[in-house]
Protein backbone atom coordinates (compact mmCIF):
# COMPACT_ATOMS: atom_id res chain seq x y z
CA UNK A 1 0.00 0.00 0.00
CA UNK A 2 1.43 3.36 -0.99
CA UNK A 3 1.66 6.13 1.54
CA UNK A 4 -1.15 7.98 -0.24
CA UNK A 5 -3.35 4.92 0.07
CA UNK A 6 -2.51 4.67 3.73
CA UNK A 7 -3.45 8.30 4.24
CA UNK A 8 -6.67 7.74 2.33
CA UNK A 9 -7.54 4.81 4.58
CA UNK A 10 -6.72 6.87 7.63
CA UNK A 11 -8.93 9.75 6.46
CA UNK A 12 -11.75 7.29 5.85
CA UNK A 13 -11.46 5.89 9.34
CA UNK A 14 -11.43 9.35 10.87
CA UNK A 15 -14.50 10.42 8.88
CA UNK A 16 -16.36 7.38 10.10
CA UNK A 17 -15.81 8.74 13.58
CA UNK A 18 -16.93 12.20 12.43
CA UNK A 19 -13.38 13.56 12.60
CA UNK A 20 -10.91 15.07 10.13
CA UNK A 21 -7.17 15.00 9.58
CA UNK A 22 -6.72 18.71 10.38
CA UNK A 23 -8.95 18.61 13.42
CA UNK A 24 -11.85 20.55 11.92
CA UNK A 25 -15.41 19.52 12.55
CA UNK A 26 -17.25 18.11 9.52
CA UNK A 27 -19.00 21.34 8.58
CA UNK A 28 -16.19 23.70 9.51
CA UNK A 29 -14.45 25.79 6.85
CA UNK A 30 -10.75 26.54 6.76
CA UNK A 31 -9.66 30.16 7.07
CA UNK A 32 -10.88 32.25 4.12
CA UNK A 33 -8.70 35.15 2.99
CA UNK A 34 -9.80 37.66 0.35
CA UNK A 35 -7.39 40.03 -1.41
CA UNK A 36 -8.86 42.61 -3.76
CA UNK A 37 -7.24 44.30 -6.74
CA UNK A 38 -4.57 41.75 -7.59
CA UNK A 39 -4.40 43.13 -11.15
CA UNK A 40 -4.88 46.84 -11.71
CA UNK A 41 -5.32 46.12 -15.41
CA UNK A 42 -8.57 44.32 -14.67
CA UNK A 43 -11.82 46.21 -14.12
CA UNK A 44 -12.01 44.12 -10.95
CA UNK A 45 -9.93 41.29 -9.51
CA UNK A 46 -9.47 39.27 -6.38
CA UNK A 47 -7.65 36.34 -4.89
CA UNK A 48 -9.37 34.02 -2.46
CA UNK A 49 -7.50 31.52 -0.31
CA UNK A 50 -9.45 28.82 1.45
CA UNK A 51 -6.75 27.14 3.48
CA UNK A 52 -4.08 26.34 0.90
CA UNK A 53 -6.50 26.48 -2.01
CA UNK A 54 -5.78 29.62 -3.95
CA UNK A 55 -7.97 31.00 -6.71
CA UNK A 56 -7.78 34.28 -8.61
CA UNK A 57 -10.60 35.82 -10.61
CA UNK A 58 -10.75 38.90 -12.79
CA UNK A 59 -13.40 40.98 -14.49
CA UNK A 60 -12.81 42.56 -17.89
CA UNK A 61 -15.49 44.52 -19.72
CA UNK A 62 -15.91 45.08 -23.43
CA UNK A 63 -18.59 46.42 -25.72
CA UNK A 64 -20.52 43.76 -27.64
CA UNK A 65 -23.88 42.78 -29.02
CA UNK A 66 -26.67 41.47 -26.79
CA UNK A 67 -28.22 38.04 -27.36
CA UNK A 68 -31.28 38.35 -29.61
CA UNK A 69 -33.60 37.07 -26.86
CA UNK A 70 -32.34 39.56 -24.24
CA UNK A 71 -31.79 42.75 -26.26
CA UNK A 72 -31.76 44.97 -23.17
CA UNK A 73 -29.29 43.01 -21.07
CA UNK A 74 -25.53 42.76 -20.83
CA UNK A 75 -23.70 39.53 -21.60
CA UNK A 76 -21.80 37.38 -19.11
CA UNK A 77 -18.96 35.08 -20.20
CA UNK A 78 -17.29 32.88 -17.61
CA UNK A 79 -14.19 30.75 -18.12
CA UNK A 80 -12.12 28.73 -15.70
CA UNK A 81 -8.76 27.09 -15.96
CA UNK A 82 -7.01 24.75 -13.56
CA UNK A 83 -3.44 25.94 -14.07
CA UNK A 84 -0.85 23.21 -14.45
CA UNK A 85 1.00 24.82 -11.54
CA UNK A 86 -1.94 24.18 -9.18
CA UNK A 87 -1.46 20.43 -8.72
CA UNK A 88 0.77 17.68 -10.08
CA UNK A 89 -2.25 15.93 -11.59
CA UNK A 90 -3.33 18.96 -13.66
CA UNK A 91 -2.25 18.91 -17.28
CA UNK A 92 -1.70 22.01 -19.39
CA UNK A 93 -3.98 22.55 -22.35
CA UNK A 94 -7.61 23.32 -22.95
CA UNK A 95 -9.84 23.30 -19.86
CA UNK A 96 -11.02 19.76 -19.11
CA UNK A 97 -14.48 18.71 -18.08
CA UNK A 98 -13.89 19.59 -14.42
CA UNK A 99 -12.82 23.15 -15.21
CA UNK A 100 -15.72 23.55 -17.63
CA UNK A 101 -18.13 22.27 -15.01
CA UNK A 102 -16.73 24.65 -12.41
CA UNK A 103 -17.04 27.63 -14.77
CA UNK A 104 -20.60 26.71 -15.65
CA UNK A 105 -21.70 26.12 -12.06
CA UNK A 106 -20.18 29.41 -10.91
CA UNK A 107 -21.66 31.17 -13.94
CA UNK A 108 -25.15 29.86 -13.23
CA UNK A 109 -24.89 31.01 -9.62
CA UNK A 110 -23.92 34.55 -10.67
CA UNK A 111 -26.43 34.64 -13.49
CA UNK A 112 -29.49 33.09 -11.86
CA UNK A 113 -28.70 34.63 -8.50
CA UNK A 114 -28.97 38.04 -10.18
CA UNK A 115 -25.58 39.04 -8.83
CA UNK A 116 -25.27 41.65 -11.58
CA UNK A 117 -28.05 43.96 -12.69
CA UNK A 118 -27.71 42.99 -16.33
CA UNK A 119 -30.22 45.55 -17.53
CA UNK A 120 -27.96 48.33 -16.32
CA UNK A 121 -25.31 46.97 -18.69
CA UNK A 122 -27.42 47.75 -21.74
CA UNK A 123 -26.04 50.67 -23.73
CA UNK A 124 -28.20 50.74 -26.86
CA UNK A 125 -31.03 48.21 -26.77
CA UNK A 126 -30.54 45.40 -29.22
CA UNK A 127 -27.24 46.82 -30.41
CA UNK A 128 -24.61 47.57 -27.83
CA UNK A 129 -24.24 46.17 -24.35
CA UNK A 130 -21.43 45.58 -21.92
CA UNK A 131 -19.92 42.11 -22.06
CA UNK A 132 -18.58 41.02 -18.68
CA UNK A 133 -15.76 38.49 -18.88
CA UNK A 134 -15.22 36.54 -15.71
CA UNK A 135 -11.98 34.58 -15.81
CA UNK A 136 -11.15 32.19 -13.00
CA UNK A 137 -7.77 30.57 -12.43
CA UNK A 138 -6.84 27.99 -9.84
CA UNK A 139 -3.27 28.68 -8.71
CA UNK A 140 -3.06 26.06 -5.99
CA UNK A 141 -5.47 23.17 -5.55
CA UNK A 142 -6.10 22.00 -2.03
CA UNK A 143 -9.72 21.07 -2.45
CA UNK A 144 -13.14 22.73 -2.52
CA UNK A 145 -12.44 24.54 -5.76
CA UNK A 146 -16.00 25.50 -6.68
CA UNK A 147 -16.64 27.30 -3.40
CA UNK A 148 -13.32 29.13 -3.57
CA UNK A 149 -13.93 30.02 -7.21
CA UNK A 150 -17.43 31.27 -6.44
CA UNK A 151 -16.12 33.49 -3.67
CA UNK A 152 -13.22 34.79 -5.78
CA UNK A 153 -15.59 35.59 -8.62
CA UNK A 154 -17.98 37.39 -6.31
CA UNK A 155 -15.08 39.30 -4.78
CA UNK A 156 -13.81 40.35 -8.23
CA UNK A 157 -17.31 41.52 -9.16
CA UNK A 158 -17.58 43.53 -5.94
CA UNK A 159 -14.14 44.99 -6.67
CA UNK A 160 -15.05 45.95 -10.24
CA UNK A 161 -15.56 49.50 -11.48
CA UNK A 162 -16.92 50.18 -14.92
CA UNK A 163 -14.60 51.77 -17.48
CA UNK A 164 -15.66 55.04 -19.02
CA UNK A 165 -17.69 54.99 -22.19
CA UNK A 166 -16.76 57.62 -24.75
CA UNK A 167 -19.39 59.47 -26.75
CA UNK A 168 -18.94 57.20 -29.74
CA UNK A 169 -19.29 54.09 -27.58
CA UNK A 170 -15.63 53.19 -27.26
CA UNK A 171 -14.17 51.89 -24.00
CA UNK A 172 -11.84 54.33 -22.27
CA UNK A 173 -9.96 52.36 -19.66
CA UNK A 174 -7.93 55.30 -18.45
CA UNK A 175 -10.84 56.21 -16.23
CA UNK A 176 -12.93 53.86 -14.11
CA UNK A 177 -16.32 55.17 -13.10
CA UNK A 178 -19.09 53.59 -11.03
CA UNK A 179 -18.90 50.21 -9.39
CA UNK A 180 -20.45 47.36 -11.36
CA UNK A 181 -24.16 47.26 -10.43
CA UNK A 182 -24.33 44.37 -7.93
CA UNK A 183 -27.76 43.22 -6.77
CA UNK A 184 -27.08 40.02 -4.87
CA UNK A 185 -24.21 37.95 -3.49
CA UNK A 186 -24.84 34.30 -4.30
CA UNK A 187 -22.36 31.93 -2.66
CA UNK A 188 -21.89 28.29 -3.72
CA UNK A 189 -21.34 25.74 -0.98
CA UNK A 190 -20.27 22.22 -1.85
CA UNK A 191 -21.34 19.31 0.30
CA UNK A 192 -19.68 15.91 0.19
CA UNK A 193 -20.84 12.76 1.86
CA UNK A 194 -19.32 9.83 3.69
CA UNK A 195 -21.91 7.29 4.77
CA UNK A 196 -24.46 9.32 6.71
CA UNK A 197 -22.06 12.26 7.26
CA UNK A 198 -22.19 15.51 5.28
CA UNK A 199 -18.83 17.24 4.99
CA UNK A 200 -17.94 20.80 3.95
CA UNK A 201 -14.78 22.43 2.58
CA UNK A 202 -12.80 19.28 1.80
CA UNK A 203 -9.06 19.30 1.21
CA UNK A 204 -7.47 17.75 -1.87
CA UNK A 205 -6.53 14.72 0.22
CA UNK A 206 -10.05 14.32 1.54
CA UNK A 207 -11.35 14.51 -2.02
CA UNK A 208 -9.33 11.40 -2.80
CA UNK A 209 -11.79 9.64 -0.51
CA UNK A 210 -14.94 11.66 -1.15
CA UNK A 211 -15.28 11.71 -4.93
CA UNK A 212 -18.89 12.89 -5.27
CA UNK A 213 -20.04 16.42 -4.62
CA UNK A 214 -23.22 18.43 -4.41
CA UNK A 215 -23.00 22.19 -4.84
CA UNK A 216 -25.82 24.47 -3.78
CA UNK A 217 -25.74 28.20 -4.45
CA UNK A 218 -28.00 30.45 -2.40
CA UNK A 219 -28.92 34.09 -2.55
CA UNK A 220 -29.04 36.69 0.23
CA UNK A 221 -32.70 35.88 0.87
CA UNK A 222 -31.94 32.18 1.27
CA UNK A 223 -33.47 31.16 -2.05
CA UNK A 224 -31.71 28.56 -4.15
CA UNK A 225 -30.31 29.74 -7.48
CA UNK A 226 -28.09 26.89 -8.70
CA UNK A 227 -27.40 23.25 -7.86
CA UNK A 228 -25.13 20.60 -9.26
CA UNK A 229 -24.78 17.00 -8.13
CA UNK A 230 -21.85 15.27 -9.79
CA UNK A 231 -18.71 13.16 -9.73
CA UNK A 232 -20.67 9.99 -9.00
CA UNK A 233 -22.49 10.60 -5.77
CA UNK A 234 -25.91 9.09 -5.09
CA UNK A 235 -28.09 10.59 -2.36
CA UNK A 236 -31.49 9.82 -1.02
CA UNK A 237 -34.11 12.56 -1.22
CA UNK A 238 -33.72 13.17 2.50
CA UNK A 239 -29.95 13.56 2.18
CA UNK A 240 -30.42 16.04 -0.64
CA UNK A 241 -32.74 18.18 1.43
CA UNK A 242 -30.47 18.03 4.46
CA UNK A 243 -27.52 19.08 2.30
CA UNK A 244 -29.47 21.95 0.77
CA UNK A 245 -30.27 23.32 4.23
CA UNK A 246 -26.70 22.94 5.41
CA UNK A 247 -25.43 24.74 2.31
CA UNK A 248 -27.92 27.57 2.68
CA UNK A 249 -27.00 28.20 6.27
CA UNK A 250 -23.27 28.04 5.58
CA UNK A 251 -23.61 30.34 2.60
CA UNK A 252 -25.37 32.90 4.74
CA UNK A 253 -22.70 32.74 7.43
CA UNK A 254 -19.79 33.04 4.98
CA UNK A 255 -21.45 35.88 3.09
CA UNK A 256 -21.73 37.80 6.32
CA UNK A 257 -18.13 37.03 7.31
CA UNK A 258 -16.24 37.86 4.14
CA UNK A 259 -18.56 40.27 2.36
CA UNK A 260 -20.14 41.92 5.41
CA UNK A 261 -19.50 45.49 4.30
CA UNK A 262 -20.58 45.01 0.74
CA UNK A 263 -23.63 43.11 1.91
CA UNK A 264 -24.97 46.21 3.61
CA UNK A 265 -24.38 48.26 0.46
CA UNK A 266 -26.15 45.71 -1.72
CA UNK A 267 -29.08 45.31 0.64
CA UNK A 268 -29.64 49.06 0.77
CA UNK A 269 -30.33 49.35 -2.92
Amino acid sequence: MTSTKLTVEYIKNLLEMGRRLDGRSLNEFREIKVKYGISKKAEGSAEVCVGNTRVVAGVKMEIGEPYPDTPNKGVLVTTAEFLAMAAPEFEPGLPGEDAIELARVVDRGIREGNAIDMEKLCIVEGEKVWVVFLDIFVLNHDGNLIDAAGMATMAALLDARMPKLTEDYEVDRSELTDPLPIRDIPIPITVRKHNEHLILDTTALEEEVLKGKFTVTTKINGNLCAMQLSDGMAMTKEEVLKAVRLARDTSSRIRENIFGDQLKRVKKQ
Partner: protein
Protein backbone atom coordinates in the same frame (compact mmCIF):
# COMPACT_ATOMS: atom_id res chain seq x y z
CA UNK B 1 -41.30 22.18 4.99
CA UNK B 2 -43.14 23.65 7.96
CA UNK B 3 -46.86 22.99 7.97
CA UNK B 4 -47.67 26.64 7.64
CA UNK B 5 -45.31 27.22 4.75
CA UNK B 6 -46.53 24.10 3.04
CA UNK B 7 -50.13 25.20 3.29
CA UNK B 8 -49.41 28.67 1.87
CA UNK B 9 -47.35 27.18 -0.84
CA UNK B 10 -49.96 24.73 -1.98
CA UNK B 11 -52.68 27.27 -1.93
CA UNK B 12 -50.73 29.46 -4.27
CA UNK B 13 -50.55 26.75 -6.80
CA UNK B 14 -53.57 26.12 -8.95
CA UNK B 15 -53.61 22.93 -10.92
CA UNK B 16 -54.51 24.64 -14.17
CA UNK B 17 -53.87 22.95 -17.49
CA UNK B 18 -50.57 23.50 -19.27
CA UNK B 19 -50.00 25.15 -22.70
CA UNK B 20 -50.19 21.76 -24.42
CA UNK B 21 -53.25 20.68 -22.40
CA UNK B 22 -51.42 18.42 -19.96
CA UNK B 23 -52.09 18.27 -16.24
CA UNK B 24 -49.14 19.16 -13.97
CA UNK B 25 -48.14 15.53 -13.44
CA UNK B 26 -48.59 14.37 -17.02
CA UNK B 27 -45.68 13.30 -19.13
CA UNK B 28 -45.60 14.14 -22.79
CA UNK B 29 -46.19 11.08 -24.99
CA UNK B 30 -43.24 8.81 -24.23
CA UNK B 31 -41.86 6.23 -26.62
CA UNK B 32 -39.04 3.91 -25.66
CA UNK B 33 -37.42 1.35 -27.92
CA UNK B 34 -34.42 -0.93 -27.38
CA UNK B 35 -31.96 -2.23 -29.97
CA UNK B 36 -32.16 0.45 -32.63
CA UNK B 37 -28.50 0.62 -33.71
CA UNK B 38 -27.52 -2.73 -35.20
CA UNK B 39 -23.71 -2.45 -35.04
CA UNK B 40 -23.71 -1.32 -31.39
CA UNK B 41 -23.48 -3.74 -28.48
CA UNK B 42 -26.57 -2.10 -27.00
CA UNK B 43 -28.82 0.78 -27.96
CA UNK B 44 -32.06 2.56 -27.20
CA UNK B 45 -34.33 5.27 -28.52
CA UNK B 46 -36.27 7.57 -26.20
CA UNK B 47 -38.88 10.11 -27.18
CA UNK B 48 -40.36 12.58 -24.67
CA UNK B 49 -42.80 14.46 -26.89
CA UNK B 50 -40.73 16.16 -29.53
CA UNK B 51 -37.48 15.43 -27.73
CA UNK B 52 -35.87 12.47 -29.45
CA UNK B 53 -32.64 10.79 -28.48
CA UNK B 54 -30.68 7.72 -29.59
CA UNK B 55 -28.09 6.12 -27.32
CA UNK B 56 -25.66 3.35 -28.19
CA UNK B 57 -23.10 1.43 -26.16
CA UNK B 58 -19.85 -0.25 -27.18
CA UNK B 59 -17.78 -2.31 -24.79
CA UNK B 60 -16.34 -3.39 -22.54
CA UNK B 61 -13.25 -3.36 -24.73
CA UNK B 62 -9.58 -2.67 -23.97
CA UNK B 63 -9.04 1.00 -23.15
CA UNK B 64 -7.23 3.07 -25.75
CA UNK B 65 -5.15 5.15 -25.60
CA UNK B 66 -3.72 2.64 -23.17
CA UNK B 67 -2.11 5.13 -20.76
CA UNK B 68 -5.59 6.33 -19.82
CA UNK B 69 -6.68 2.88 -18.68
CA UNK B 70 -7.58 2.39 -15.02
CA UNK B 71 -6.02 -0.78 -13.59
CA UNK B 72 -8.86 -1.14 -11.11
CA UNK B 73 -11.96 -0.59 -13.15
CA UNK B 74 -13.45 0.19 -16.52
CA UNK B 75 -13.45 3.77 -17.71
CA UNK B 76 -16.90 4.99 -18.63
CA UNK B 77 -16.94 7.37 -21.58
CA UNK B 78 -20.08 9.34 -22.31
CA UNK B 79 -20.68 11.61 -25.24
CA UNK B 80 -23.84 13.68 -25.55
CA UNK B 81 -24.29 15.50 -28.84
CA UNK B 82 -27.03 17.51 -30.48
CA UNK B 83 -27.38 17.24 -34.24
CA UNK B 84 -27.06 20.64 -35.93
CA UNK B 85 -30.67 20.52 -37.10
CA UNK B 86 -32.13 19.36 -33.77
CA UNK B 87 -32.62 22.95 -32.61
CA UNK B 88 -34.09 26.20 -33.98
CA UNK B 89 -30.77 27.91 -34.70
CA UNK B 90 -28.36 25.51 -36.36
CA UNK B 91 -25.80 24.24 -33.87
CA UNK B 92 -22.25 23.89 -35.16
CA UNK B 93 -21.30 20.17 -35.22
CA UNK B 94 -18.98 18.94 -32.48
CA UNK B 95 -18.89 19.25 -28.71
CA UNK B 96 -19.29 22.59 -26.95
CA UNK B 97 -19.05 23.51 -23.28
CA UNK B 98 -22.69 22.69 -22.64
CA UNK B 99 -22.44 19.23 -24.18
CA UNK B 100 -19.18 18.52 -22.35
CA UNK B 101 -20.88 19.33 -19.04
CA UNK B 102 -23.93 17.21 -19.87
CA UNK B 103 -21.71 14.31 -20.94
CA UNK B 104 -19.98 14.58 -17.58
CA UNK B 105 -23.07 14.62 -15.36
CA UNK B 106 -24.59 11.73 -17.34
CA UNK B 107 -21.37 9.77 -16.89
CA UNK B 108 -21.26 10.65 -13.19
CA UNK B 109 -24.83 9.41 -12.76
CA UNK B 110 -24.29 6.15 -14.65
CA UNK B 111 -21.07 5.46 -12.77
CA UNK B 112 -23.09 5.12 -9.55
CA UNK B 113 -24.79 1.95 -10.90
CA UNK B 114 -22.54 0.34 -13.54
CA UNK B 115 -20.30 -2.39 -12.09
CA UNK B 116 -17.11 -0.89 -13.49
CA UNK B 117 -14.87 -2.90 -11.17
CA UNK B 118 -15.65 -5.99 -13.20
CA UNK B 119 -13.67 -4.75 -16.20
CA UNK B 120 -10.31 -3.31 -15.19
CA UNK B 121 -8.29 -1.65 -17.98
CA UNK B 122 -11.37 -1.55 -20.19
CA UNK B 123 -13.58 1.16 -21.57
CA UNK B 124 -17.32 1.30 -22.00
CA UNK B 125 -18.51 3.97 -24.43
CA UNK B 126 -21.95 5.51 -24.37
CA UNK B 127 -22.91 7.75 -27.27
CA UNK B 128 -26.04 9.84 -27.11
CA UNK B 129 -27.37 11.76 -30.07
CA UNK B 130 -30.20 14.25 -29.89
CA UNK B 131 -32.20 14.14 -33.14
CA UNK B 132 -34.72 16.76 -32.05
CA UNK B 133 -34.64 18.92 -28.95
CA UNK B 134 -37.70 20.24 -27.16
CA UNK B 135 -36.39 20.44 -23.57
CA UNK B 136 -35.40 17.54 -21.37
CA UNK B 137 -32.73 16.22 -23.71
CA UNK B 138 -30.28 15.30 -20.94
CA UNK B 139 -32.83 13.27 -19.00
CA UNK B 140 -34.03 11.57 -22.19
CA UNK B 141 -30.39 10.85 -23.07
CA UNK B 142 -29.65 9.41 -19.63
CA UNK B 143 -32.82 7.29 -19.70
CA UNK B 144 -31.78 5.96 -23.12
CA UNK B 145 -28.16 5.44 -22.07
CA UNK B 146 -29.18 3.41 -19.06
CA UNK B 147 -31.29 1.18 -21.29
CA UNK B 148 -28.55 0.85 -23.89
CA UNK B 149 -26.15 -0.33 -21.18
CA UNK B 150 -28.69 -2.93 -20.07
CA UNK B 151 -29.23 -3.96 -23.70
CA UNK B 152 -25.46 -4.38 -24.09
CA UNK B 153 -25.46 -6.73 -21.10
CA UNK B 154 -23.23 -4.46 -19.02
CA UNK B 155 -23.74 -5.43 -15.37
CA UNK B 156 -25.58 -2.73 -13.43
CA UNK B 157 -26.59 -2.76 -9.80
CA UNK B 158 -29.82 -1.02 -10.71
CA UNK B 159 -31.41 0.93 -13.52
CA UNK B 160 -31.41 4.71 -13.83
CA UNK B 161 -34.46 6.68 -14.86
CA UNK B 162 -34.54 10.41 -15.36
CA UNK B 163 -37.00 13.24 -15.86
CA UNK B 164 -37.07 16.99 -15.57
CA UNK B 165 -39.55 18.65 -13.23
CA UNK B 166 -39.83 22.29 -12.39
CA UNK B 167 -41.89 25.38 -12.16
CA UNK B 168 -43.64 27.07 -15.07
CA UNK B 169 -46.54 29.50 -15.24
CA UNK B 170 -47.08 29.40 -11.51
CA UNK B 171 -47.19 25.71 -10.82
CA UNK B 172 -44.91 22.74 -10.29
CA UNK B 173 -44.99 20.53 -13.35
CA UNK B 174 -43.48 17.39 -14.75
CA UNK B 175 -41.56 17.00 -18.05
CA UNK B 176 -41.41 20.61 -19.25
CA UNK B 177 -41.48 21.56 -22.93
CA UNK B 178 -39.24 24.24 -24.43
CA UNK B 179 -42.25 26.55 -24.43
CA UNK B 180 -42.69 26.06 -20.69
CA UNK B 181 -38.96 26.48 -20.09
CA UNK B 182 -39.27 29.89 -21.70
CA UNK B 183 -41.94 31.02 -19.25
CA UNK B 184 -41.07 34.08 -17.16
CA UNK B 185 -40.96 32.09 -13.89
CA UNK B 186 -39.62 28.81 -15.33
CA UNK B 187 -37.14 26.69 -13.41
CA UNK B 188 -36.10 23.33 -14.80
CA UNK B 189 -34.68 20.63 -12.53
CA UNK B 190 -33.40 17.50 -14.24
CA UNK B 191 -33.35 14.56 -11.83
CA UNK B 192 -32.16 10.97 -12.17
CA UNK B 193 -33.08 8.25 -9.69
CA UNK B 194 -32.08 4.65 -9.40
CA UNK B 195 -34.68 1.89 -9.59
CA UNK B 196 -34.03 -0.08 -6.38
CA UNK B 197 -32.40 2.13 -3.78
CA UNK B 198 -34.17 5.24 -5.10
CA UNK B 199 -31.03 7.30 -4.90
CA UNK B 200 -30.61 10.53 -6.82
CA UNK B 201 -27.52 10.61 -9.01
CA UNK B 202 -28.18 13.53 -11.32
CA UNK B 203 -29.57 16.79 -10.05
CA UNK B 204 -29.09 20.21 -11.55
CA UNK B 205 -30.91 23.46 -11.05
CA UNK B 206 -30.66 27.05 -12.07
CA UNK B 207 -33.30 29.68 -11.45
CA UNK B 208 -34.80 30.93 -8.24
CA UNK B 209 -36.57 28.55 -5.88
CA UNK B 210 -37.50 28.51 -2.26
CA UNK B 211 -36.51 25.36 -0.42
CA UNK B 212 -40.22 24.48 -0.26
CA UNK B 213 -40.64 24.69 -3.99
CA UNK B 214 -37.51 22.63 -4.49
CA UNK B 215 -38.86 19.98 -2.15
CA UNK B 216 -42.13 19.82 -4.10
CA UNK B 217 -40.20 19.48 -7.36
CA UNK B 218 -38.03 16.73 -5.94
CA UNK B 219 -41.14 14.85 -4.82
CA UNK B 220 -42.73 15.00 -8.23
CA UNK B 221 -39.46 14.03 -9.89
CA UNK B 222 -38.95 10.96 -7.79
CA UNK B 223 -42.50 9.79 -8.36
CA UNK B 224 -42.04 10.35 -12.08
CA UNK B 225 -38.80 8.38 -12.20
CA UNK B 226 -40.66 5.36 -10.85
CA UNK B 227 -43.08 5.57 -13.77
CA UNK B 228 -40.28 6.07 -16.31
CA UNK B 229 -38.59 3.01 -14.93
CA UNK B 230 -41.67 0.90 -15.59
CA UNK B 231 -41.61 2.02 -19.23
CA UNK B 232 -37.91 1.20 -19.51
CA UNK B 233 -38.60 -2.29 -18.23
CA UNK B 234 -41.40 -2.77 -20.73
CA UNK B 235 -39.17 -1.69 -23.59
CA UNK B 236 -36.46 -4.14 -22.58
CA UNK B 237 -38.95 -6.97 -22.21
CA UNK B 238 -40.45 -6.16 -25.58
CA UNK B 239 -37.11 -6.42 -27.31
CA UNK B 240 -36.24 -9.74 -25.71
CA UNK B 241 -39.66 -11.14 -26.42
CA UNK B 242 -39.30 -10.11 -30.04
CA UNK B 243 -36.00 -11.90 -30.27
CA UNK B 244 -37.80 -14.99 -28.94
CA UNK B 245 -35.24 -15.30 -26.19
CA UNK B 246 -35.81 -16.67 -22.75
CA UNK B 247 -36.99 -13.58 -20.91
CA UNK B 248 -35.26 -13.31 -17.58
CA UNK B 249 -34.60 -9.70 -16.86
CA UNK B 250 -33.21 -9.14 -13.42
CA UNK B 251 -35.23 -7.18 -10.98
CA UNK B 252 -33.02 -4.16 -11.22
CA UNK B 253 -33.87 -3.54 -14.85
Amino acid sequence: MSDKASKDFHENIKDHLRPDGRKPDDFRPIKIEVGVIKRADGSAYVEFGKTRVVAAVYGPEPMHPRHLADPEKAVLICRYNMLPFSVEERKKPGPDRRSIEISKVVKDALSTVVVLEEFPKCMISVDMVVLEADAGTRVAALTAASLALADAGIPMREMISAIACGRANGQIVVDLTKEEEDAEDAVDVPVAMSSLTKRISLLQMDGDLTIEEFEAILDKASNSCVKIHAMQRDALLKKYKKEGEEVDIDDEY
